[in-house]
Symmetry: C2
Subunit: 436 residues, 2 copies
Amino acid sequence: MVIESNPHHVVIIGGGFGGLNAAKTLKNTPVKVTLIDRRNLHLFQPLLYQVATGGLSPGDIAAPLRAVFRGSKNIQIFMAEVVAIDKKNKKILTHQKTIDYDSLIVSTGSINHYFGHDEWRPYAPGLKSIEDALDIRRRILTAFESAELTDDESLRRELLTFVIVGGGPTGVELAGTVGEITRYTIRKEYKSFDPGSARILLVEGMNRVLPAFPEDLSQACEKMLNDLGVAVMTDTLVTNISGHEVSLLKNKQETKIKTQCVLWAAGIKASPLGKIIAGDNDKMLDRSGRVIVEPDASVPGHRDIFVIGDLAHYRYRDGQPLPGLAPVAMQQGNYVARLILARLENKSIKPFRYFDKGTLATIGRSRAVGIVWKIKFKGFIAWFLWLTIHLRYVTGHQNRILVLIQWAWNYFTWARSARVITNVYEHAPSDYVKNK
Amino acid sequence: MVIESNPHHVVIIGGGFGGLNAAKTLKNTPVKVTLIDRRNLHLFQPLLYQVATGGLSPGDIAAPLRAVFRGSKNIQIFMAEVVAIDKKNKKILTHQKTIDYDSLIVSTGSINHYFGHDEWRPYAPGLKSIEDALDIRRRILTAFESAELTDDESLRRELLTFVIVGGGPTGVELAGTVGEITRYTIRKEYKSFDPGSARILLVEGMNRVLPAFPEDLSQACEKMLNDLGVAVMTDTLVTNISGHEVSLLKNKQETKIKTQCVLWAAGIKASPLGKIIAGDNDKMLDRSGRVIVEPDASVPGHRDIFVIGDLAHYRYRDGQPLPGLAPVAMQQGNYVARLILARLENKSIKPFRYFDKGTLATIGRSRAVGIVWKIKFKGFIAWFLWLTIHLRYVTGHQNRILVLIQWAWNYFTWARSARVITNVYEHAPSDYVKNK
């Protein structure tokens, strides 16, 4: 038992982009750091859709937190789940341990949100965790396997219909990749049907895909999706999802589409840590459950608690909250760490400033759209930029090499070889077992 | 609906080493082939322990069957589970489909066996499937994470005790790798304890590890295990396994060892397909449930049904059954395929001859023992031979590159980066949640 010693103790909850960058900035400084995460790894979420579609293995986009901070004497890591925060006594409660803090950085991100329809969750997995990605991979691949086995044409049609809900970057990436797989990768691998005949629908509630992008890029994106066999339905709302059917509403007209594979990319909300921080004070949170923070990312009334990344509602210069993007979280993590260090020296630093390098959305092999350094890009150049930037930010040198090799391999062979399906018999769709 | 056409129809059940090689030999021949497997992949089982210990990702040692046979017009693949074989009418029954056969090759391997103690299964996973490997990986890694969290020294001792049951090649590989991890890989990654203090026990019922190897190699192996911190207990039987304790019996003395991580490498038995083939006729099976086959690998009384690999009891020249090794299954798969082709041309071929190239067991980095081309090897040379041979046989060019890079990386950095833990909160050990 060592008695709590002198150094200022910074506790970081969440090892995502925000927390990881805060810890990196505090590495080998005079503060003591405790990094708490439910997982033992930092996940490179922007490539999670490639795990879901069999292009990469989970290990390729996950860096063990302990390996990242192996040489750092001032950083301790706990794999634990935070269940309460005692703001008054400055304590973090986990199931196993109570931890005192001097400064607290909370960066636990967001979770899937079904807008009051949690009953859709089992039929329409989102894409936030490795388990989600493997679940989606299993659903896509077993759909083709079941289609090969059945002699019932209408069931095969149902199995070969994929509905992706949500036309933001994640929905576009998923739909585009499913299109690429059916049109190219597995085209010659089945004897009972042509995978190219698969029906892929991308459903978006607004009037265009990628609503956060300029309109001409949305149009370019829709064209690229169409080229990959994806049908885009805009101004369309989902009214019901079951294991066999999805109901869509457009112009007050309801359509029912038979499908066993619905993927959810329509909504996220703040992680439950927001509510733990707010306690009884609902006014601390916005509609999505994000904590509304001060210009220095601290929680109003608690200058030693910082909330960053997707969990934070950070009102920026234009009056809008900053978007839930990795660069925002990374820059905030770095900023808050520097702020804590400055405070210890009784110095002040300038308010947080977000440096927007741009955003890119990829649609499939050689296809992407986006804005980088305020210039619009589309097609191959956008895709190449996307590839370079993502490779640059994947954590871990070995991961970077593994991702590069698999991308190069997949590019030249059109293959996707990370097609392991796990727990298939525990999750067999009802027809897979009962049919015939 | 196409009516069954003329070509001779070979159905292969199981896409392991035996089935895969039979199908490869029958590729682009005049026969029609249907390959049935519960999975969509061929698993390179000899490297499964590296997935269990975080050195490789599942995708690295799994080749999608459809990708392997992409160019093969005469091979259809079904992902399905066989529930019955109608030998009289020559039909295979799966949940989804009934399939007629002219010749049948069954190569479904073996499963974990607890010698009448199935109640041990939840506490002591074996190493046969990808799920098994990920389960073992989760247990090993969460043990260290829980040890970092607890302040209870006796609980930490329990968490840092690993018991591997069975001193054959799999048990030796697992114990050696756990030793390597604790002594090198993660040595500097924890603040509450020294991973090098972990206790690793390898328990073997016979009087030496690797009982199938020459005695001097067993001794060399035990020495190498000791160097990695593994304590070897021979002549020792396991009498009970619970979630917190394992009971051992040596010289009529019972010892109880507190541990939450027991790994099972002590026994396998034939896959349930053996019983399906035998039906009421128990005499067709040996004690392990293997089908006793004729010199041409056919089932007595059914010259069109062949059983190969781990599922077969093939009595060889010395009167002993051939061992359950990948080379045996591969050579039998090739033999049976050639036999079927020869029969169609009314030709005969020589009886099956097993070409024994040797066996190697690896103990950890730079350490292995074995016999190759009848010469004994130990130490670095044996390890290098093991590495070269395994790399040679990994299926798929991309997998070979990925495995090579990760091995090279791990060798030079001592790292193991495939440390993704999945489903951790669904499988938390009781103490992990309840302690403190």
